[in-house]
Amino acid sequence: MSDDDGWSEAAVDYVQAIADTKLLLGQRYGEWMLKGPNLEDDISGASNAQDEIGQVRQLFRLLKRQGVGDEWLESERDPEEYANAATLDREAEAWPTFIVQAALTDRAAWLLLDAIDHDDFTGMVQKMGEDEYFHLEHHDGRLETLAEDQPEAIEAALEDYLPKIMAFVGPATYDAESDPLVAAGFTDRPAAEVRRALYDHYEALFQGTDVSVPPLDDDTPDPEAWDEARRRVGDGHVEADVVDQLQGVSNEEYVIA
């Protein structure tokens, strides 16, 4: 699909949610890059943060071409205007929790990005996929060892984050016939299929371990209550002090004009 007539409003919302999720992923990787269990995790976290912020720059560039305001994107938004996955609203309290948070969110964001079938994303998504290979391999490698060492912590984090990440992906009722973005030709993989792919990946990863992946609930999110723009249920949002960091509020006076 090409964008001779611009993207639909739903497509802009979809890319905005992916971009904001990557922005918050960069923030969460940054928060953990100096307190991981060892230097190698810190270095990987710093690299991941850098990749995410670089990807956000590219996605914001495309959003600006679609008429999304520069100032609004970068520095004039309230916390409830960020469309990040609800998994990232709060900083994880412990390392196993953080790995589950980052793993589910980064993989879901990648699957949604990879589902886009539009000329504006050709090439760019392939390059982003090269970055993501290292993120997702790091997470899965860590989850494999944590599943042996701390299965209860991994299972508790899955209970918390799985419904939130499924809300980010979209309702199970959005299948090949009913997903509006597929119908419009903007994506080529409906939410229902992405949900299953995401779930199956973790079910296979934890097979043979003491970690039980909670059942995939087709009623979560409730399509009636689902916010299509912010890809979640409810009005939760990231903390105001994190938004201040994202917008560089405390260092505004040093901005290079």
């Binding site: 230097l39 690299s47 290292f134 391999e137 060892t145």
Partner: protein, 67 residues
């Protein structure tokens, strides 16, 4: 576990030892090595578990005498 990281810049070059990483699995070691030593456009980067290195030992050879 400790892994040694080996690289080369050009195909056909000898491998260089560039450092080590600590990892709980081979899968993690590959990622850590790439992330930690990705300062060059390597033609090859690989890891070897320290326990898999074969030590080259020196020792006296027996002369074949019998007491």
């Amino acid at each position: 576990m400790k892994y040694h990281v080996f690289t080369r810049i050009n195909a056909g070059d000898d491998l260089m030892h560039v450092g080590t990483v600590q990892a709980d699995s081979d899968r993690l070691a590959r990622i850590y090595a790439h992330r930690t030593y990705d300062e060059e456009d390597w033609d090859f980067i690989g890891v070897v578990r320290e326990e898999n290195l074969i030590e080259v030992e020196e020792g006296p050879i027996a002369g074949g005498r019998t007491a």
